[in-house]
Amino acid sequence: MNTLRLALKMLRRDLAAGELRVLLIALVVAVASVATVGFFTDRVRSALNGEATRLLGGDLALIADHPIAQKFLAAATRNGLKTANVTTFPSMVSAGEGTALSEIKAVSSTYPLRGLLRIASARGADGSRSAADRDALGVPQPGSVWVADALLVKLGRQVGDAITLGNRQFTIAAVITKEPDSAFDYFKVAPRLLLNEADIASTGLIRTGSRVGYRLLLAGPPKPVEAFQMFAKANLGRGERLEGVRDARAEVRVALERAEQFLGLASLLSVILAAVGVFLVARRFMRREFDTCAILRCLGASQATLLSLYLLEFLVLGVLAGVVGCALGYGAQYALIKLLTGLIKAELPPAGWVPALQAFAVGLLVLLGFALPPLLRLRSVPPLRVLRRDLPIAEPSSAIAYLLGLSVIALLLLWKSGDMQVWLAVLGGVAACVVTSALLGWALISAAARLKSGTGVSIRYGLASLRRRAGSSITQIVALGLGIMALLLLTLVRGDLMNSWRNNLPADAPNRFVIGIQQDQVAELKKFFQTYGLGARGDAASRKQQPTARESAVPQSAEVELYPMIRGRLTTINGRPVVAESMSDERSRRLAEREFNLSQAIGLRSDNRIVAGAWWHAGDSEQLSVEEGIAKTLNLHLGDTLTFNVGGTMVTGKISNLRKVDWDSFKVNFFVIGSPGLFDNAPTSYITSFYLPREHEATINAMVQAFPNLSVIDVGAILDQVRSIADQVSRAVEFVFIFTLLAGLIVLYAAIVSSQDERMFEAAIMRTLGARRAQVRGTQAAEFVVIGLIAGVVAAIFASAVGFAVSVRILNLSYAFNPWVPLVGIVLGVVGVALAGFAATAQAVNRPPLETIRALG
């Protein structure tokens, strides 16, 4: 108890003296960043778990890309389960002059089996949930529909108005205010329209090429549900899958896990930086405590007493940091949720205490791994130091000390990323960054120190000190470099990437896709396009044109090309069955499970390019042209034979060429194209894309009136949605990076402070020798400028490299070097270090030298 009291007294003293304040702040930042992300993901996850049955709309769902087979319905009845049918597909709806794409959902009267639908009889004033909303009893009556508020806005209609869907007219009976299974639909192409299952046939919308999803919802006591599940599992066919409560919204879960991983790693970066800060402060603290320890030892304190004294002091500090950090994190997660507000529509339950515990543990681990090694040294201070001040101080540089810290970091990383590959990549990336900047720093410092001759005394002495303090100088460079790099990446580089991505799209690229065109509509539709002067412009050539040329171009309307589209599933490659489970990566698994959109063509399109093999000649048959990207993913080669199941018929062809396709052009393209005649007997619909000038929106209305079964997809709107999601997510990540930046600043401060004593002392000596303020400042400036300069250069190199890698490797864009990156990096580095450094050593030039020397002992 005595030890505890003494430890608390020491802590109060050290905090008051500012000694450990930086350490406390570093720990608080680390804990807060982990807690913020932890609380956030915990809330979203428990929302997912809590609403699982509601999200599913039942206890179990059978999902298929074709109508549900009779055997499943029979099995459900046999087990006494309640069932509900859900059929979904996108379609155009119109009301008067307005048309809009809508997500149609036709449900049987039993829907939903779990959860509640809420509706209102009028729009809310602000467009959001109106005050008068209520639980929906049942589903829309035949002849009426319920729609999402967004659809009313798009069409300019109210409850009670008429709306046309396919061949039929309906009455809008209510506004949907809450749909049980859409709380996490953050990527919905179009607003919802709910109608009665009985009305679906009369719309005439379900035809070849319609993208229809079928869902059988089931609910009942656990035993029968389990029995059905057993039966269904054994009888699942192609394109059929079961979704239970546990894998409800699997795609949302996967997305959440990704986000969690990403945010987790971002928060971990701040933990790593904070750990470096903790280490620097603890080391300086240790050096200052050496005398105290030596004296205590002389007075008879045992090693154990000393150790427990300091351990207790730091433990109390860790607990303090944990409490403050968790509180901060709890507040900060609200900001995070606010930033992602459009993406999460569900009401989130309050956060649990597990994330707090985890963040707390992270704080203590960092303290243990990075403050303990220097502290352990204090234990072994020789009492003789009281007599001989110049007795060498043992540095905590033993391999064990660093190993402890490193393994703590490695452990945290593994826990946060969970994935060995990600773990290695991040660890490797950070290590490479640190090592490279350290080496670069070392090389540049050595080079700078060689500038000796021919410079003034201030600069020369500054450079000499820089080299002598190489260790701490390099630490400062690495820390500062990491901080500046994060800043550059988040501002300049990110902006550049977003801009070049945006500019990469031609202004007149196709912005509308039309799907579900029937064979007998092809000629009519072509005539329609001609009548309205619509053309598919924006081909490869116009992308290279100057903007002025593009603007002045006369709107010419090349004939709109309609492409045949056949849906087929890849069943065998070279006679071997394709088994999705055996595919190595997720993307190939998805491709193997999904239906391909196939096409056939006589000639090669001008915007596709052959990269291997040759296009077929007239008379060639049963040949396939495959897009090179998918060929790589599925490991397909020239000469391979592929068999597709097309509507029950097996169609086989041989790969005669590989094509390169410009997906960014937003034109219709296909992974696999067959030679003429290959898919002639298959059910075929047509697809096209065209550019619709903004002022011609009305044309779409005319098209939908003339061809009610066509779906017109507004690619521009989808693109905008993708962008806004990307913006929101990157803002959320940026928010977490604020902690990283804070931690970077702390390390910078700690690094500068760690050599502050030396600098002040040297300044005092120089003053004694007659150095004027300007000369002392000049010396320090030389040192600070070089450190800031090197850090800025290192940061600019890494930020540019990351920008280059992302744009070339991931976005497939040519990289344009931004000269502001190094400029801003260097200015930030130099000004930052100089300001912090001058502030830290101001006393040395402003008070009598002896005071400084005495204060530093």
């Binding site: 002495y461 000596i765 020798l769 303020r773």
Partner: protein
């Protein structure tokens, strides 16, 4: 003050004048008085020892005389300049021009080697032949072979000699040294003492030395004895 001792100003100029110097520091619960009403004068070329028990305020006095510290009361006049009227920066300039200071614990700059340490005061003053002068004086203190060594690589005695060379290299009018032999063995101490007085004779440098060392004190013309912060004697007669 000037009228009190007119006879001393006849042939030799007064270079140091301490006038009623007092130094007090505030501790947590009380005011600690280190020096009280210390007054004396030193003329050019004199060698004066400041002696007294540990804690009597010797080092504090020396720091005040060099303008490294500010007195709580009284004033210091160096070569006619009242330090209390000078800014910190002007004080530094005056030190650069007139004063050499030798710290008890040498205080060499660890980033510079012996030669660079000695060159530093000359360079700070903007002198051109710094290297040559520094080499010469290091030769005088017997360190010609160790010019490129860093403080860490030098023994205590060698460091002390570099510190002396650094203090002397600018040919200061006034050399203030705090226990210049305190860290040295008798033999090395004697060497340092010889060096000090040799330079005193050759260059007419005024020496003001804080010391415990009887051998050193006995070489000085005059002793100033401090007891608990007060000057008890400053007579030539008591020097022996």
């Amino acid at each position: 003050m000037k009228n009190d001792l007119p006879h001393l100003a006849d042939d030799r100029r007064i270079i140091v004048s301490a006038e009623a110097l007092g130094k007090r520091v505030a501790t947590s619960d009380m005011q600690l008085t280190i020096l009280t009403e210390v007054s004396f004068q030193v003329t050019e070329g004199e060698a004066v020892a400041i002696v007294g028990a540990s804690g009597s305020g010797k080092s504090t006095l020396l720091g005040l005389l060099a303008g490294l510290d500010t007195p709580s009361s009284g004033r210091v006049v160096i070569d006619g300049a009242d330090l209390s009227t000078l800014s910190e920066d002007a004080c530094a300039a005056l030190r650069g021009r007139l004063i050499g200071f030798v710290f008890q614990s040498f205080q060499l700059l660890p980033a510079l080697n012996a030669l660079e340490n000695v060159m530093l005061p000359l360079e700070l003053a903007g002198q051109r032949d710094a290297r040559q002068q520094a080499q010469e004086i290091l030769g005088r203190v017997g360190l010609a072979a160790r010019l490129g060594h860093y403080p860490k690589q030098l023994s205590g005695g060698e460091q002390q000699r570099v510190a002396l060379a650094r203090a002397f290299v600018k040919r200061p009018k006034l050399l203030l040294a705090d226990e210049p032999t305190g860290n040295l063995d008798a033999h090395t101490g004697q060497q340092v003492i010889d060096l000090l007085f040799q330079l005193n004779h050759e260059r007419g440098t005024t020496l003001l030395l804080v010391t415990h060392d009887e051998a050193l004190a006995s070489r000085c013309v005059r002793r100033l004895k401090l007891v608990a912060g007060e000057l008890v004697t400053s007579s030539e007669a008591l020097a022996r």
